[in-house]
Amino acid sequence: MALFLLCAVAAMAADLAGKWSGSFKAEGADHDIPQLVILKQHGSTLSGSAGPDASEQYPLENGRVDGNNVSFQVTTGEWKFSYNLTVEKDSLSGNLKLESTAQVRNAKVTLTRVKGQ
């Protein structure tokens, strides 16, 4: 019975595998920064890559799915991007924290599933 429930919960978790595109705008910034996230899901663990476009992708770190909550990190160099998102149908939206060794900035990010992958 417990195994059945566990399987049922796992089955209810959103299938996030695939490409997600969107943008974010850091507070005080002039421009929207494009985003392309390519997710691979293994149960509650996420892997894959993310970056501004297909030609510049960085590996996902600490990717997790907990119900509708999705979190992962990406280190692009001096900056580390920490995503805390909520999944709703074909949309992932939430907060993005950008950290360097000098600054911390926050942004709102929205990603939508790329159709016809």
């Binding site: 005080g28 297909a54 770190e61 280190t75 692009t76 360097s100 060794t101 600054q103």
Partner: protein, 352 residues
């Protein structure tokens, strides 16, 4: 006419004075940001030169021993024998003695004092209103300086003759500082205004000199991120350096973090503004995928980079940074003395 100019000068001082003061204080600190940053992290910012510098592969091995299983995002090779090589990891930026392989420590990510000073200078540490207020304050400073010159011209006061705290003292101080710091302050405010209105200025520059299209880099498929590169970082640097003889590598992005090796080089002896030489390499074959040199940059990018270098004083090294810092720090004094003159004239403040 003189009365109109005086009113404009006064109005700017009253409305924008506090922001000009903030820009001046923070700008004066930021002129020496690299030095202050090193001093505040002294134990991980300096090495004693001696012997052969380790290769990047050897440095990578030392890092892997200290932090097993952590991928290296990028190497930041030292371009100064007294400074350590740094290595970017997910946990932060590790300083390593390139002569001994000793790991000096890690700079973790987070808000620092200098980071706070920078966000105050750039956006008042707030969202969209911050940059808006500051760019108009910069422009107001330009107008204030020019109107101040107009007002100063008939009097031409260059010395402080008044007694301490007298009305004459503050007037003389305001006039003398205004005269002696006019040129550098005008340059700082002018270049700051260009930075603030960069979008508009960019459109103007592109109209004057249309931007050349940049070919998209050919980048390996994302799947390649999982594979280990076949050439090492030292080979990547050697291949990239051959593309720019005399260039010194200051950043080597590892292929797992972007799909390619990306080597950034600079000329130490002639650090021109906008020095951006980037060579991208296929990590499997060492083939040069793309090479962007600062000489290829568009008129707009080079001019805006030069503008930024003039603004922060880095364009002519330490002397220009000292001038920028002094001129910047004098802006608050100008705003304060101007305010005191106005308060006295209004009868709000009594001086001797």
């Amino acid at each position: 006419m003189r009365k109109l100019i005086l009113n404009i000068h006064l109005a700017i001082g009253i409305v924008a004075g506090v922001f000009v003061t903030l820009l001046g204080v923070t700008g004066g600190i930021l002129a020496f940001e690299p030095e202050l940053d090193r001093i505040s992290h002294r134990d991980i910012s300096y090495v004693k030169p001696g012997g052969r510098a380790l290769s990047l592969a050897e440095i990578g091995n030392a890092i892997s021993q200290k932090y097993p299983g952590e991928g290296i995002v990028a190497y930041l090779p030292s371009t100064n024998p007294d400074f350590p090589t740094r290595v970017i990891l997910s946990r932060g930026i590790v300083s390593i003695n390139q002569y001994t392989g000793d790991v000096l420590g890690v700079r973790t990510r987070g808000q620092s004092f200098l980071g706070t000073v920078r966000v105050l200078h750039v956006r008042l540490a707030m969202g969209n209103p911050g940059p808006f207020i500051l760019k108009w304050s910069s422009l107001a400073t330009v107008v204030s300086l020019l109107s101040g010159l107009y007002l100063w011209w008939p009097v031409k006061r260059m010395r402080i003759a008044g007694r301490w705290w007298s009305a004459r003292f503050w007037y003389d101080l305001h006039s003398a500082i205004g005269f002696y710091s006019l040129l550098p302050a005008l340059v700082l405010a002018g270049t700051g205004t260009v930075i603030g209105f960069e979008d508009h200025v960019s459109r103007l520059f592109d109209y004057i000199s249309p931007q050349r299209p940049i070919e998209n880099d050919l980048v390996l498929p994302v799947a390649k991120l999982e594979e280990a590169p076949l050439i090492g970082p030292d080979q990547a640097v050697a291949i990239a350096s051959a593309q720019l003889p005399g260039g010194v590598p200051y950043r080597v992005q590892m292929p797992r973090y972007g799909g390619l090796y990306v080597v950034a080089l600079e000329y130490l002896q002639r650090r021109v503004a906008g020095e951006r030489n980037l060579i991208s390499l296929d990590p499997a074959t060492g083939k040069v995928i793309s090479a962007h040199f600062s000489s290829d940059l568009s008129f707009r990018v080079r001019l805006l980079a030069a503008n930024g270098a003039i603004h922060d004083g880095s364009i002519w090294g330490t002397p220009s940074r000292i001038v920028a810092a002094i001129a910047s720090m004098l802006l608050p004094l100008q705003a304060t003395s101007g305010l005191l003159i106005w308060l006295r004239r209004k009868g709000i403040l009594h001086t001797r």
